[in-house]
Subunit: 159 residues, 2 copies
């Protein structure tokens, strides 16, 4: 498995396929994931989005994160996106991606990392994952995604 | 005073001047305000940002808001930006802008409006303003903008 931080043109399609293949994200969410790649391919660093890709030896995408500094903050970063392909799941790939992303963010000056999750039942494993990774619930916003569906904001100090 | 919802090319400069003239926003924040206008001039509705401008009879900008649907939510909107020019302040312009923005957002399907503010002292009048406008503190994120500077998220039901 190899880390890669630079985007390539094929990543838009690869990310779309990977995110859809997880079966976890809605078509709208998949489109957002693709848009973040496309915007960064077009605008470069100015987009504010950083990417970390985990490729297998044949260059197949195993997982990725999208993260970056939160505009107008001194040193807060957001983990905007993380996804692991179904064939690479249950092998600690998510944890490796989060740890490597935190390490890269720290090198870029991050002191805190934030992650948005949802309150609904299908996010129970996601929230448990972030808790294992040292994140805590920083705030909760009721009825955010939809009536009855809260946004749960996790945070972790990187200092 | 006239409302205007369509962007014109001169708005990037006019918004930059207005936001800087308030003396309230940092240079970084002013750049973000300009970028939101430029991105919407380039990408149109696809940017996800809507604008409401209040022009005086000579077409001078008195104040504006930038708002829009929050991606991946069913009907949550964010008031991303509001600014009133110094010569139009203390005349209820901020309240008019918020009410008109809420009304436009409702027409577009909004059921909840969110506004981010900061916890530091200079935001005491801002937070009092949103409380007068019917907003309540929905969540607070410590050390968000900088160590010791929280993000305070206000919300209002538009249903």
């Amino acid at each position: 498995m190899r880390w890669r931080c630079t985007l390539q043109a094929s990543d838009a399609a690869a990310v779309g396929t990977l995110v859809a293949d997880t079966g976890f994200f809605s078509p709208d969410e998949t489109l957002i994931a693709i848009e973040l790649v496309e915007e960064t391919l077009t605008r470069g660093k100015e987009s504010g989005y950083e990417f970390l890709f985990a490729d297998d030896p044949e260059g197949q995408l195993l997982g990725y994160t999208c993260y970056g500094p939160i505009p107008a903050t001194q040193s807060s970063f957001d983990l905007y996106w993380i996804a692991v392909s179904p064939q690479a799941q249950r092998q600690g790939m998510g944890a490796k991606l989060v740890r490597e992303t935190e390490s890269l963010a720290k090198q870029q000056g991050a002191t805190r990392m934030f992650v948005d999750t949802a309150g609904r039942a299908e996010y129970v494993p996601t929230r448990a994952f972030y808790e294992r990774m040292g994140y805590h619930v920083e705030a909760s916003i009721t009825d955010f995604y939809a009536p009855g569906d809260a946004k749960v904001i996790y945070a972790k100090s990187l200092a």
